[in-house]
């Protein structure tokens, strides 16, 4: 074997070894990732019952209260929760509600429910909050008289806005 062939063979072997050393193999996959706007709330199961049944003599009947809970998740800012009832209350009676705010929102305190949406929690920023308090209060004046058991449907909506 002469020097020229030895060089040629050495070069060939070098290329082969380089090929072996370069066997690391790569493949790719592409994923499109996306996060959509999410704002959801839910109420604890059950139907709160409020019965005005006592009074301190000389004043209007004592209001009745009932509690419940709600959960909320949003990944957006400037969210609010509104509430309304399906049917107006009888004269002399009112149904109030107060929702505890999540850590990133502000409660509007006690709101007298009507058939028109009203803000009960404002300025909610991204949060995932379970088991927040809901307090209902039923108030009746003496003039309201008696009322057989009846229901009111309270609808809550979480949406964007002040």
């Amino acid at each position: 074997m002469n020097a020229s062939f030895a060089r040629q063979s050495a070069t060939t072997l070098g290329l082969m070894l380089a090929g072996l050393a370069g066997t690391a193999h790569a493949q790719t996959q592409t994923v499109n990732i996306q996060v959509s706007a999410i704002s959801v709330m839910s109420l604890a199961p059950g139907t709160p019952t409020l019965i005005v049944s006592t009074a301190v003599a000389g004043v209007d009947p004592t209001p009745a209260t009932a509690t419940s809970q709600y959960n909320v998740t949003t990944n957006q800012t400037n969210q609010k929760i509104m509430a309304h009832i399906n049917t107006a209350m009888p004269a002399g009676m009112s149904l109030d509600v107060a929702l505890a705010a999540p850590s990133t929102g502000t409660s509007n305190g006690t709101i007298v429910l009507t058939t028109t949406d009203q803000n009960v929690v404002n300025s909610i920023a991204p949060v995932a909050a379970p088991n927040l308090g809901v307090t209902y209060t039923l108030t009746a004046t003496a003039a309201a008289g008696t009322l057989a058991a009846t229901t009111r449907l309270v609808t809550y909506t979480i949406t964007t806005g002040p």
């Binding site: 060939t12 193999h25 493949q27 790719t28 994923v31 499109n32 990732i33 996306q34 990944n75 909050a129």
Partner: protein, 151 residues
């Protein structure tokens, strides 16, 4: 030595070399996984993760290559609050899956213990899970490329 003989010897050497240099390979069933969209939540909880297990991989191992593991990494970091994990089912043969690996731009092992033998492992499942917490906010559709590398 004549030129003809030199050429013949070199060609023979190349043929031997080409046989022994056949590469280990990792191939995926499709390059485009598709869109993964976190778009729902159970109220009171973080948004619901989404899972994609529609793609598979085929792994061909060879003897004496010194390849022992498969790594994965992203081409770009994920938005804050967003996590993309990948999990490759072990195809057997003593290969160990790292389980769900939270992908970053740094290479991380997803399979280890690749055998020192010539074996083909086909159609093992790749699972991606996209998660986002509420602080991630809304993220418009954006691509991320995952690179798998045999090492």
């Amino acid at each position: 030595m004549s030129t003809r003989v030199r050429t013949a010897l070199t060609a023979a050497l190349l043929l031997v070399g080409s046989k022994t240099a056949s590469a280990q390979t990792f191939t995926v069933s499709t390059a485009l996984v598709g869109t993964m969209n976190v778009n729902a939540a159970v109220a009171g909880s973080q948004p619901t993760s989404v899972t994609n297990s529609t793609t598979t991989y085929t792994l061909v191992t060879r003897r004496n290559r010194g390849i022992t593991r498969l790594t994965a990494n992203l081409n770009a970091a994920l938005p804050a609050g967003v996590t993309l994990t990948v999990s490759l089912v072990s195809p057997g043969g003593g290969i160990v899956s790292a389980g769900p690996v939270s992908l970053t731009v740094a290479q991380q092992n997803v399979l280890t213990g690749l055998p020192n033998s010539t074996t083909t492992f086909a159609a093992a499942t790749i699972t991606y899970v996209l998660s986002a917490n509420v602080t991630a906010g809304v993220v418009a559709s954006t691509p991320r490329t995952i690179t798998f590398t045999l090492q």
